[in-house]
Symmetry: C2
Subunit: 151 residues, 2 copies
Amino acid sequence: MEDVLTISEVATRSGFSASALRFYEKEGLITATRTSGGQRRFHRHELRRLAFIAAARHVGLTLDEIGEALDLLPSGRTPTKADWSKITRSWRKRLDEEIAALESLRDGLDSCIGCGCLTLQRCRLSNPADIAATRGSGAVYLPKPLHPDAD
Amino acid sequence: MEDVLTISEVATRSGFSASALRFYEKEGLITATRTSGGQRRFHRHELRRLAFIAAARHVGLTLDEIGEALDLLPSGRTPTKADWSKITRSWRKRLDEEIAALESLRDGLDSCIGCGCLTLQRCRLSNPADIAATRGSGAVYLPKPLHPDAD
DNA sequence: GTACAACTTGAAGTTGACTTCAAGTCAAGA
DNA sequence: TCTTGACTTGAAGTCAACTTCAAGTTGTAC
């Protein structure tokens, strides 16, 4: 085990495809040195960034947002616990918001099925103003809210 | 108020754009009659389908999945409470799964920040095998899980 | 009857996050 | 040295869910 890895080694270890890694490098999310022949060699610490990227994608951040977050890491020194934690702390809020939104939707679904309002028209389910109000920027795949009229 | 509506009336009442309504008609999710001149006229009951579509989109279903669900509705008669509820009941499971996945991620985040494992490498946050196992087909925007190695 | 907003169509464009392709180059074991 | 799998590039393709466009038609208020 060297401290530099080929792209396929990083792919295996990170779970990302090689093409995704090339894409991420092009987007500036990760960096690689090159051999004299031009092939990429990744330092092991890129795996940490990739783990961060994977986690951020799970939270629903776009690559642009992830790039901004990674830019907050200190460039001169190795990131400390405080550096990473500052970045990830904001996810907590985001996750809480998304969980709240989904719970609200679920409870609306229960009441909708239970209440007999066939048309769904007053249900929080199809008219989730509370969800739109609760959640911040869109991470979970939810489109804009509806305001349906009577059937 | 007639019981037929123009596309812009439906757009206003449903919250969908006119182009989205044309798209949904082309995809077979909703239907419209035509005037002698060829303009669309929507029956009011299409608003109910649109409310359903909006709710389903909120749950994270794709249009294909929504189309399949709507195909389960009886074609001969007006859908009953039981018809709608049969369709929406499966959402409950889906929502529960997604909520569980996000909660697991959030709890992993807490422990990651708290435990001092700077590298994130063993965190459920960046290595959420439990999430992959918990959730069904992908509604929430979560990519495939990572299996990061040591930093 | 005339004006004009609202409507029609098919085709092409958009966005994000990649994947696929073609054609060639590199690295490492036998 | 040879072979062969791994690697390189830029460009183009993919997917979902629409949106935008251009050019023409319809409906209706006056």
